[in-house]
């Protein structure tokens, strides 16, 4: 199995002295915040909603001054994590980060590809981040921006992985934090949040209730809610998965990407990241087909895609994939647009298929993912089965989190065979000795 953690580690130590030309004046790529709906522009501050039309704001850049060859050299000489892409993130200077995420392995999954009849499958294993999910990327960006804006307290509404990341990165930065989660979250995710010394608040309700509460709190508390008032910056961190994937594929693009959808932010930002590098000339080709993956027990984006709707109808989630259990997805309409525009799709799978997906990935790649990764793998299998993805395709599956966080999903999938500590017991209960074995 080929694993590409980047051709880059050998260069990692030189960036401190070699990444800026001496005496050159850095020109900012940052333009401000811009409404995705009506285009109204705002300063780079803790703001996430357009006052004119209530649309979402995102960071606007001007990359016209970037030379592709120079940008590539600078990236390759950069640190071994997300900050090597600082020129494409909302900062004029590369932030100091004691817990830098990123540069997770891109694994060529030949046995999985063979099992499914797909040309090439690459697994982007984002469980290999400091708190074992892709949320480290978005939180690193949000906290760096929160510090720049002068916030002392970090907060979030989370389905679990974000809770882990906010608590950890706030601890590393020495900032106070409040983490709001549905009270019935998986125990592993609660423990892996509380250990960092955060104020962990279990809300009696589902994620959408937690999110509403945090949206209201963000109006009255002077806190940096990473996925509310800092969301335009936070979301930018997801682009780094796209950049890494391109770099790890030798500065090329896959034909298709399969990615889980909760709010739709990760999904759409992968598209944005690739578009930016196509624009700058760091990669050639066209946007891959984007396939979104949801659980049937919470599939508002898949439903909107299937029904041809422009908006998502909110749902009350009921699925084992709790990290994807957002019934009212903020970026749902944009996710549908991206899937349609690229010739992709948005699919949903059952809880049984999710558990089978976790096992399929584990058995063919040695990667143990959480339920969201089970959703992604199950959708990949479903698309292969339907013939949508086949022998001519190079596919990247985005695996966003770690299996140890959702153990309940796989409890029924295996059994322990218990024996006495003797050869006799082993041969009787497990594997009788064959004549050949005895001869040896």
């Amino acid at each position: 199995m080929e694993v590409r953690s980047g051709p880059l580690l050998a260069h990692a130590e030189v960036f401190f002295v070699g990444d800026e030309k001496e005496g050159s004046e850095k020109v900012s790529n940052l333009q401000g915040l811009r409404c995705k709906e009506c285009g109204t522009e705002y300063e780079l501050e803790a703001r996430y909603v357009c006052e004119q039309c209530f649309g979402p704001l995102e960071v606007a850049y001007d990359f016209s001054g970037i030379d592709a060859a120079e940008a590539k050299r600078k990236i390759q000489a950069g640190p071994a994590g997300i900050w090597r892409y600082a020129d494409f993130l909302p900062f004029d200077e590369r932030p100091k980060d004691p817990l830098e995420p990123g540069l997770t392995p891109l694994v060529k999954a030949d046995r999985l590809a063979e099992r499914l009849g797909i040309g090439e499958v690459w697994v982007k294993n984002d469980a290999a981040n400091p708190t074992h999910s892709f949320k480290d990327r978005v939180v690193a960006v949000a906290i760096a921006k929160a510090k720049e804006l002068g916030f002392q307290t970090i907060a979030c509404a989370s389905t679990g992985n974000l809770a882990n990341a906010v608590a950890a990165h706030a601890a590393a930065a020495g900032l106070e934090s409040y983490v709001f989660v549905p009270a019935d979250l998986e125990e592993q995710k609660l423990l892996a949040t509380g250990v960092y010394g955060t104020r962990l608040v279990g809300v009696r309700g589902n994620y959408d209730d937690v999110n509403r509460l945090c949206t209201e709190l963000a109006e009255t508390r002077p806190w940096a809610f990473v996925n509310v008032n800092l969301r335009p910056y936070y979301a930018e961190g997801s682009k780094t998965i796209a950049y890494e994937t391109i770099e790890q594929l030798g500065w090329s693009l896959p034909d298709r990407i399969v990615c889980p959808i909760a709010s739709g932010s990760l999904f759409t930002k992968l598209g944005r990241g690739i578009s930016e590098w196509l624009e700058v000339g760091l990669v050639e080709g066209e946007l891959p087909a984007f396939h979104g993956a949801q659980a049937e027990g919470c599939n508002p984006v898949a439903e909107a895609y299937a029904e041809g709707w422009e908006v998502c109808k909110p749902q009350r989630p009921d699925t084992i994939a709790k990290s994807l259990a957002i019934g009212n997805p903020a970026d749902g309409p944009y996710a549908v647009e991206l899937a349609r525009a690229t010739g992709g799709s948005v699919e949903a799978v059952t809880d049984e298929e999710i558990a089978a997906g976790i096992r399929l990935l584990a058995e063919t790649t040695g990667i143990f993912t959480e339920t969201a990764g089970g959703v992604t793998t199950a959708v990949l299998a479903k698309l292969a089965e339907a013939g949508t993805i086949g022998a001519d395709d190079r596919v990247v599956a985005v695996i966003t989190g770690e299996g140890l966080k959702t153990l309940d999903a796989v409890r029924a999938g295996h059994r322990v065979e218990e024996i006495d500590p003797s050869l006799d017991s082993f041969e009787r209960e497990i594997a009788p000795a064959s004549p050949a074995t005895v001869a040896v």
């Binding site: 709906e37 996430y48 909603v49 357009c50 006052e51 004119q52 039309c53 209530f54 649309g55 979402p56 509404a157 994620y207 959408d208 209730d209 999110n211 509403r212 945090c214 949206t215 209201e216 963000a218 109006e219 809610f225 996925n227 509310v228 969301r231 909760a262 709010s263 739709g264 932010s265 990760l266 422009e310 908006v311 109808k313 909110p314 009350r316 957002i326 009212n328 997805p329 903020a330 970026d331 309409p333």
Partner: protein, 90 residues
Amino acid sequence: MAVTVKIPTQLRAATGGEAEIEVEGGTVGEALDAVFDAHEGLRERITEDGTLRRFVNVYVSGEDIRFRDGLDTELNDGDEVTILPAVAGG
């Protein structure tokens, strides 16, 4: 019905800074119309062609009105109607 409509900070420029507005209305739609009558600038910010824009969430006593009857959701005396941005979370 006398109800309270809560206005998010992003829209308070259009209400002269008012965070809560007391209005009369039998449904969410009627209550919002009463708010728009008092503060005309709000109408175009959160509605388009007579319906809510796609990034606007409206709750009655904490419940998203899309789980009820949308703008036709009936109100009781003393209900709280909360307008919030839909672009948070995830």
